[in-house]
C-alpha cells in the first residue's frame, strides 16, 4: 500500500470542499497529479495543491492507497467522500461530511468530526477517536435511505439525530449521545455505552438500540416486554427490553410483527 500525505499549508479563508480527498480519486496518480485535483472554496474552484502540500504517489487502485491528512483541517469538508476502498487517516479535527456516501475502506479520524459524517454510508469503517457531530450515519436531508451497512465507532460523544432512517450496519458510541437517535430506522444497530437524552427510537419500525447508561425521557411509543441478558462488545449485562415505536406501521416477518427493539441496561 502506498501512502500519500497531504498537509495543510495555506488555510482557506472560507470553508473548503475537498470532495476529491479519497483513495478513489487519488488512485493511480502521482503527487503532482493529486495536487491538480479540484477543490471548492466558496464559489471558486481551485486545486488541492493551492492549500495542501502533497507528498507521495498513490497506489494503482483505491485499495492500494492510504491518505494521511495533517495540519489544521477544521475548515475542510467532505474528506473521504464516496470512498470505496483504501485508508484515510485524519490527524486533527475536521468539518462536515467525513466519509459521506462511503461504500468501503477505512477512515480513522484522530480528532473530532462535525455533522453529517457517514451520510447514507453503505459499507466500510469509520473510527472517530474524538467526538462526532449531529446526523452521524443519517440519511441526506429529505431522503429516506440512511446508513445501510458498515461500521462506525465513536470513542467520545456523538450529537443528535444519529442513524436517522438507518436500515443496516452498526454505530457504537463509547460516550454519550444527544436527542433523536435512530429516528425512522428500519434496521441497523446502535450501541451507546454512555447516556442518551430523549426521543430515542422515535418512529422506529425495525432495528436495535442498546443503551448502557440512562435515557432522560423514554418515548411513550415504546412498550416494556421483558428482561434480557445480552453480550455486547464482549461485555455481558442485564437489560430491560422495550419494543416500538407502537405508533408506526410495522412489517410482518414469518407471520410475526416486527418491532424496533430498545434495550436499556438495568
Amino acid at each position: 500500500m502506498e501512502t500519500v500525505t497531504i498537509t495543510m499549508k495555506n488555510a482557506p479563508a472560507l470553508y473548503l470542499e475537498a470532495d476529491n480527498v479519497s483513495p478513489d480519486a487519488f488512485a493511480g496518480k502521482t503527487a503532482a497529479q493529486i495536487a491538480e485535483l479540484s477543490v471548492h472554496e466558496g464559489n471558486t474552484t481551485s486545486t488541492l495543491g493551492k492549500y495542501f502540500e502533497v507528498i507521495g504517489n498513490a497506489g494503482a487502485t483505491a485499495a492500494d492507497t492510504k491518505i494521511v491528512v495533517k495540519g489544521d483541517v477544521k475548515k475542510v469538508k467532505y474528506l473521504g467522500f464516496k470512498m470505496t476502498a483504501g485508508e484515510l487517516v485524519i490527524e486533527g479535527s475536521t468539518d462536515l461530511y467525513v466519509g459521506a456516501w462511503m461504500k468501503g475502506g477505512k477512515i480513522l479520524a484522530k480528532g473530532n468530526i462535525e455533522a453529517f459524517a457517514a451520510t447514507a454510508m453503505k459499507g466500510g469503517e469509520l473510527i472517530v477517536e474524538g467526538n462526532a457531530g449531529n446526523y452521524l450515519g443519517a440519511a441526506y436531508r429529505g431522503d429516506w435511505r440512511g446508513m445501510s451497512g458498515g461500521k462506525i465507532l465513536v470513542k467520545g460523544n456523538a450529537g443528535s439525530d444519529i442513524g436517522m432512517y438507518m436500515t443496516g450496519g452498526e454505530i457504537i458510541v463509547n460516550g454519550n449521545i444527544d436527542v433523536h437517535a435512530l429516528t425512522h430506522a428500519e434496521g441497523g444497530r446502535l450501541v451507546v455505552k454512555g447516556n442518551a437524552k430523549s426521543k430515542v427510537g422515535g418512529q422506529m419500525i425495525d432495528g436495535e438500540i442498546i443503551i448502557f447508561g440512562s435515557i432522560d425521557t423514554m418515548m411513550p411509543g415504546f412498550k416494556p416486554v421483558s428482561e434480557a441478558e445480552l453480550e455486547v462488545d464482549g461485555a455481558k449485562a442485564k437489560f430491560s427490553h422495550f419494543i416500538g415505536d407502537m405508533g408506526e406501521r410495522h412489517k410482518k416477518r414469518k407471520g410475526q410483527i416486527v418491532y424496533g427493539n430498545l434495550y436499556k441496561k438495568i
Binding site: Y140, R141, G142, D143, W144, R249
Partner: protein
C-alpha cells in the same frame, strides 16, 4: 431578424408529407419561408435529421405542486446540480428540475412548446411566475375544472351556456389554455373521505356524477370552440381493472362533433393512457389492457391520446388526483404531501421508484410502449411521460429508442427480474413494429400541435409557420448499429431554432430566445348570472378577493400570445 438556411438535411414533416427527402429549410423574421437571400447564415445539416420543434402536450413543469415537490425533496437535487456555464444559469433536480433547467433540457432535446397540464386556478399567479422563469420554450397551462364548484353546480342542471361562460371567464382570469379534468368529482369527494372510482359514483353534496361533468365539459368546450379539446385524466387511475372505467369514459365522447376554427378534430384528449389501461383484479394478476383501450381509440376518430411512458427511474408523482396520491403513499410508505385548493381542486405529491426488479413496474413499462405500438394513427397518439409521474421528460430520448428499436425493447425485457411475467401479462414481446422517423414527427410534432389547435403555428415546417426547427445528429440513411445511438442523437440537438432564433448549437444553449405564454381569450355573450355567481362565491367562500385572483400584467405574463376565440354567436 436574421436569415438562416438549414441545408441538405433529411427533412421529416408530416404537415407537408415530407418523409426524409433532402431539403433546405429557410428561416426569415421568425417564420419558415420559401426563400432567403444569399446573406442568410448557413447551417449544414448534411447527414442529419431535421424536424419541426417538438410539442409537449402534457407535463407538470410549473406551479405550486411542482414546487412543493422541489421543496420537500431536497434529495432530488443531490448530485444533479449543474453550475452556471455559458448562457445557462445554474440548475438542479432530476425528476423535478428547477425552472431554468426545465427550459434548457426541453430545448436541448428539440422541444420548443410545452403545456403545463394542471393549473390550480387559485394559484395561477404562481404557475405563471414559474412559466415566466422557464426560458426558451413557449408554454401554456391547463386550468383544472373537473372538481370545480361552479362547474358542478351548473352542470347538475345541465346549464351548458353558463358553464361555458364560467370557463371563458376562468381561462381569461388564469391566462389558461384549455379545459383540463382530473379525476372528475373524485377529488372533491375526497373532501368527504370518499372517491369516485367509476363514472357513475355520485359526488357528495353536489349530487352529480363524473359522467355528467365529463359530458357537460365536452359540450361547453365545443360550445366555445376552443383550440384544444377537453383534456381528461379519468377516474380510477392506476388501479388493476381500471381500463373498464377508461372505456366508459371514452364512450361519453360518442356522438359529439368538433366545432372550432383551429383544425382540431377530436372532442376528447385522454392523457397518460398507460395509467388507465390496467386489467386484472389485484397486483398479483395485474395485466395489460392496452389492446382493449387502443382498439376503441383506433375505431373512434374523435379521441386523441398521450402515452405516459414509465421510464424505470426514481421520480416524484404529483397530481390533482388527491385521493390517488394518498392511496399510493399507502402502497410505498414514502413521504406524502397534500394540498386542498378551496373551491377548485386539490393535489398530492409522493416520491416513487419504478424499479426494474418489481414486476408491476416492468409491466407498466411494457403497457406504456404497447399503446403507441398498437395505435394505428400516429397523428392521434403522442409521446409523454406525464412528467414527472411516470418518469422525467428528460427520458424522452430513451422512450424514442424503445419505440424505434425492437432490439432495445428486447434488451430491456431480458434485463427485467420478472421477464416471464412481463411477457405473459403484456404483448410487448410479440410487437415487432418499430416507429419510423416520420411517425415520430407525427407523434411529437404535427400530432400534438393539431390536437392543441396550434397546427397553423407549430409542429410543421411549412412556409408561414413559426420557425421552430430541430436538427438531430442522426443519419436516417445509415442503419442503426447500436440502439443507444438513437438515444444519444435525440438527447442533444445539433441545432434548435425557436421562432427563428437559434437557441441551441451543438447541444449547448446559445440564446434564451423569445419565450411566450400561450393562452386562450374567449369572448362570450354577456352573462350577468355567471358574473353574479362568481362575485358571490368570492365574497362568501374564497380566501382572497376577486381583485387578487387574476394573473395579469408584466409580472405574471410578460410576453403573452393570446389565441382569440369568438363565441358570442354560439
Amino acid at each position: 431578424m436574421s436569415e438562416y438556411i438549414i441545408k441538405n438535411g433529411h427533412v421529416f414533416d408530416p404537415v407537408q408529407g415530407i418523409k426524409g427527402d433532402k431539403k433546405d429549410i429557410s428561416i426569415k423574421d421568425g417564420k419558415i419561408v420559401d426563400k432567403v437571400s444569399s446573406s442568410a447564415k448557413v447551417i449544414d445539416a448534411k447527414d442529419k435529421t431535421v424536424m419541426a420543434g417538438a410539442v409537449e402536450i402534457h407535463a407538470h413543469i410549473a406551479g405550486p405542486k411542482v414546487n412543493l415537490g422541489r421543496i420537500y425533496r431536497p434529495e432530488d437535487k443531490l448530485f444533479s446540480c449543474t453550475p452556471t456555464h455559458g448562457m445557462e444559469r445554474m440548475g438542479g433536480g432530476a425528476s423535478i428540475p428547477t425552472t431554468f433547467k426545465t427550459g434548457y433540457e426541453y430545448a436541448k432535446m428539440g422541444y420548443t412548446t410545452a403545456m403545463e397540464a394542471a393549473m390550480p386556478p387559485l394559484f395561477s399567479r404562481h404557475v405563471h411566475e414559474e412559466i415566466r422563469d422557464t426560458p426558451i420554450i413557449d408554454e401554456g397551462a391547463f386550468p383544472v375544472f373537473g372538481n370545480n364548484w361552479f362547474v358542478m353546480e351548473y352542470l347538475k342542471n345541465h346549464e351548458i351556456e353558463n358553464t361555458a361562460a364560467y370557463c371563458a371567464w376562468l381561462l381569461r382570469a388564469t391566462k389558461g389554455y384549455a379545459i383540463k379534468i382530473v379525476n372528475p368529482g373524485g377529488t372533491e369527494a375526497w373532501g368527504w373521505g370518499l372517491n369516485c372510482l367509476s363514472i357513475h359514483d355520485p359526488v357528495p353534496y353536489f349530487d352529480i356524477t363524473p359522467a355528467e361533468i365529463i359530458k357537460g365539459l365536452i359540450e361547453a368546450n365545443e360550445y366555445l370552440g376552443l383550440p384544444h379539446s377537453m383534456h381528461i385524466h379519468p377516474n380510477n387511475l392506476g388501479n388493476p381493472g381500471c381500463y373498464e372505467t377508461t372505456l366508459d369514459t371514452l364512450k361519453l365522447a360518442e356522438g359529439f362533433k368538433t366545432k372550432n376554427k383551429f383544425g382540431r378534430e377530436q372532442v376528447m384528449h385522454l392523457t397518460h393512457t398507460q395509467f388507465h389501461s390496467y386489467k386484472g383484479t389485484n397486483w398479483g394478476d395485474f395485466e395489460s389492457g392496452a389492446k382493449e383501450v387502443t382498439d376503441y381509440v383506433n375505431k373512434n376518430k374523435n379521441i386523441t391520446i398521450d402515452t405516459g411512458n414509465v421510464t424505470l427511474d426514481e421520480t416524484t408523482t404529483m397530481t390533482a388526483d388527491g385521493p390517488f396520491e394518498h392511496h399510493l403513499c399507502g402502497l410505498n410508505h414514502l413521504k406524502w404531501a397534500n394540498v386542498d385548493v378551496e373551491l377548485e381542486t386539490a393535489a398530492g405529491v409522493v416520491p416513487y421508484i419504478y424499479s426494474p426488479n418489481i414486476s408491476v413496474c416492468a409491466i407498466q413499462w411494457a403497457i406504456g410502449l404497447e399503446i403507441p405500438l398498437m395505435m394505428k394513427d400516429p397523428m392521434r397518439c403522442y409521446i409523454t411521460t406525464d412528467h414527472p409521474n411516470a418518469g422525467p421528460f428528460t427520458r424522452y430520448p430513451r422512450v424514442i429508442k424503445w419505440l424505434m428499436s425492437k432490439k432495445a425493447r428486447d434488451a430491456q425485457v431480458n434485463a427485467f427480474k420478472h421477464k416471464d411475467k412481463v411477457l405473459s401479462q403484456t404483448s410487448i414481446g410479440s410487437l415487432d413494429r418499430e416507429i419510423s422517423l416520420y411517425e415520430l414527427a407525427q407523434m411529437t410534432r404535427a400530432g400534438p400541435a393539431k390536437s392543441l389547435g396550434l397546427s397553423a403555428m407549430c409542429g410543421g415546417l411549412k412556409p408561414g409557420m413559426d420557425a421552430d426547427v430541430a436538427v438531430y445528429n442522426f443519419n436516417p440513411d445509415k442503419p442503426v448499429a447500436n440502439p443507444d445511438d438513437i438515444e444519444t442523437a435525440f438527447s442533444r440537438c445539433a441545432a434548435v431554432f425557436k421562432s427563428g432564433i437559434q437557441v441551441v448549437s451543438n447541444g449547448e444553449i446559445v440564446s434564451t430566445g423569445n419565450k411566450r405564454t400561450l393562452w386562450v381569450d374567449v369572448h362570450v355573450k354577456d352573462n350577468p348570472q355567471v358574473m353574479r355567481d362568481i362575485n358571490e362565491k368570492f365574497v362568501k367562500f374564497y380566501s382572497m378577493t376577486q381583485n387578487n385572483y387574476e394573473a395579469l400584467g408584466h409580472h405574471f405574463v410578460p410576453n403573452p400570445y393570446a389565441l382569440e376565440v369568438d363565441a358570442t354567436q354560439a
